[in-house]
Symmetry: D3
Subunit: 72 residues, 6 copies
């Protein structure tokens, strides 16, 4: 009976990316824990950049300073 | 000191239904656990159907296929 | 596709009380939102009284002072 | 590796207030637990007053009755 | 800045399985969203079977009845 | 009506540190948002180091490698 919550900043995540996350996480749990996928729920929460703080600073401020969360 | 979070898909839950959920859960906790209702908080979170996955598929896709969550 | 989380202080909630909460919340959601109960998951989290703060004070301290959360 | 979630009713919290909450919580955790602030994430969630229940009543109804959450 | 929470019933998840979940989810988010993995935190919560309800019944009761969550 | 959840790894947080976190967060919210502290609940969750992943690795493994979360 797994439940998964994914929180990310609201920065243009597409419908297709959401589907990839949902499918990927559900498959992973099915493989690793052998769970029936019909018992797995995945919820994605997008958080405004004003509302997510990292190291004490709003993400919206970090973005204005040109600091991204991108993989280098 | 109970705190209850109810997550549902955002599919037209009315203000009255929310009040029924809040009242019903608070009464239930008061009865079962004998808690002072002034210490019980209930938070309802409505999740876009693109953001809720079930069995690896977005709820929005399930709805397009005519699959509902209704009680039969 | 509802998911419900109930957080209470860890103060001797019995197995039967947990079952009453699970049954009561699931029935409530089925009635109010007409949801298939096979899509409703309820998770109860018991929190140590040292780890729950109310009005800035640990619940364990409140209990030592004779302050309960009981319904009057 | 702390993660902090702050839930408040959506009643006009300003960008500056959010920054004060993020900064204040991160500083507190750094001081009390000696954690590297680059490992601390703070997420603020604003909840519609129809969706937050207190003592079995929607906050929006409480506000209509002139009952606030303000410090006296 | 993703944060992921995975909730499963406490039924003997091994340390290795936890590592597979953590690695798998982090890789997935890095691929799909191009996020720096140093900003991704994954938290696994194991819930006692008395505390997880499905379709109104405690998982511990379902298990006593021989009903598992295994993939068929 | 604020609710705050603080998640940290379970690495010897003392009762006094928990009280400092609870008091500090409640005071912060009272000051910044002018909220009645009797409506603020703070919940601390300690997560086993096997169950917290950072950058795709279990915290328990990071600790074995001598990597801490301490402020430098």
């Amino acid at each position: 009976m797994p439940y998964v919550k994914i929180e990310v900043t609201r920065e243009g995540v597409t419908r297709e990316q959401k589907q990839q996350l949902i499918k990927g996480v559900t498959d992973l749990i099915t493989e690793v824990l052998n769970k029936d996928p019909h018992l797995t729920h995945v919820v994605i929460k997008e958080i405004d950049t004003d509302n997510w703080g990292y190291a004490g600073v709003q993400t919206s401020v970090l973005r204005e300073q040109g600091i991204t969360a991108d993989k280098k």
